[in-house]
Symmetry: C3
Subunit: 183 residues, 3 copies
């Protein structure tokens, strides 16, 4: 019995340690997903292909051309296909749905609130994201604030990289989702 | 002392297990709330009764009629009464405040970011929600990402069902909030 | 070995207790930050100084004057300087970026979704916020739903107070961030 206790002690010690780690510790994700999503902004002429649209803009701007001054104040709503690789034409495994907001006057940064709605043989559920996206940096970290289905109650960090873009109309984001809290 | 230790071992083992459970385990909520909220969209003629308004829309749409093509791009801001039952005229126990975004071109889905501000004899505090809402499904799960007051630091899942709707002007949502992380 | 076990037992007991505390317990933050941010709304004449802009409004309102009826339906996008004290001209330690939504017809309340992007000698990382802001109350609690960098995976509560305001053009918020979940 004492041996069992010692074992349990040791086990609980390990578990408790991993749940309450010291500062700057290097954490290991309990789950990881790398996905791509593809955003085609409506520009007045591409209604059939567009997957996002500018729906709000500051005084003086319009809804088909991103505002000057680094697009400050534009809100775009999107419903973008998610793929496993960087090919827009690969079979989508889900949709990235939500909004981004251009929120700086003197450089390009966005604020993101969106969800991944995954519906494939491998993953079924949603992942919810929120955070600042200083788009000129090579990679940006945002928060994974929750999930449902296969991602029930998950939390983590998503590292976003702009994988490609074409003018103001198309961009592709690579999202490396690391879950550190799995259930 | 050893007996105490064994007991503690056992206790901590149980606690640690529940905090780090295996995949696909069936979790039991630590708290549950079922509430209704009622959304009356401003349509140009119901200013007195309306509890929400379209404030953003894509090129070509206006702010009193939901956009065609499944309302894609509409953002509505709302301040809706919350009731304990499905009666719009029951005494409200709080307000649902935030926004929803119609975000699909070929079906009806929304993206939700909002808070419940509860102020009744039973509950005092806020609950914060975020997630994708494919409104044509019977039930949809979104994330409860935080709370304050009675819901300090809580997390969970909210299951939303469209309980009733009348055209594009009124809809009532039933929200079954299951908290899995209580403090 | 038994002594070690007892110690471990005791340690894990403490840790487990703090992770799963009883209701209404008084929690102690694992980290605390007090910061100020400064919002200057674009009013049609202050383009150079403005740090935020109304980008969406309901039918009948415009984008340079906050809507009547308690500004209901206005969405403002902001990129506000963050300072360590209440002086707008202090060297900024970061930017508050995101949006607020005026969401009540008969009083002043807002809904907030934003991030602190901190970049100083003391703090490097982002903190993500969401919640209801009944601006007429002296203090309001919102959720800290995640963080990155120095605030990796953090959660907590932010208590917001309106520290000063000048008409509808300038306001300064004091934000007392208490993290209860540090990693």
């Amino acid at each position: 019995m004492r041996a069992t206790c010692i074992l349990l002690c040791f086990f609980t010690f390990l578990v408790a340690s991993s749940a309450h780690p010291g500062k700057k510790k290097q954490y290991k994700p309990c789950k990881e997903l790398v996905l791509y999503f593809h955003d085609i902004i409506y520009n007045g002429q591409n209604a059939a292909n567009a997957t996002s649209a500018i729906v709000a803009a500051p005084e003086g701007a319009n809804l088909t051309i991103l505002a000057s001054q680094f697009h400050f104040g534009n809100i775009a709503v999107f419903d973008d296909p998610i793929t496993l690789d960087n090919n827009l034409h690969s079979p989508p495994v889900g949709r990235a749905q939500g909004m981004y907001i251009y929120d700086t006057k003197n450089t390009f940064t966005a604020w993101l609130g969106f969800s991944f709605v995954l519906n494939s043989t491998d993953h079924h559920g949603t992942v919810n994201f929120m955070g600042a996206d200083p788009t000129t940096l090579k990679t940006r970290d945002i928060s994974v604030v929750g999930g449902t289905g296969d991602f029930f109650m998950h939390r983590g960090i998503a590292t976003i990289a702009t994988d490609a873009y074409e003018g103001d109309v198309y961009f592709r984001l690579r999202v490396d989702i690391k879950f550190y809290e799995c259930w």
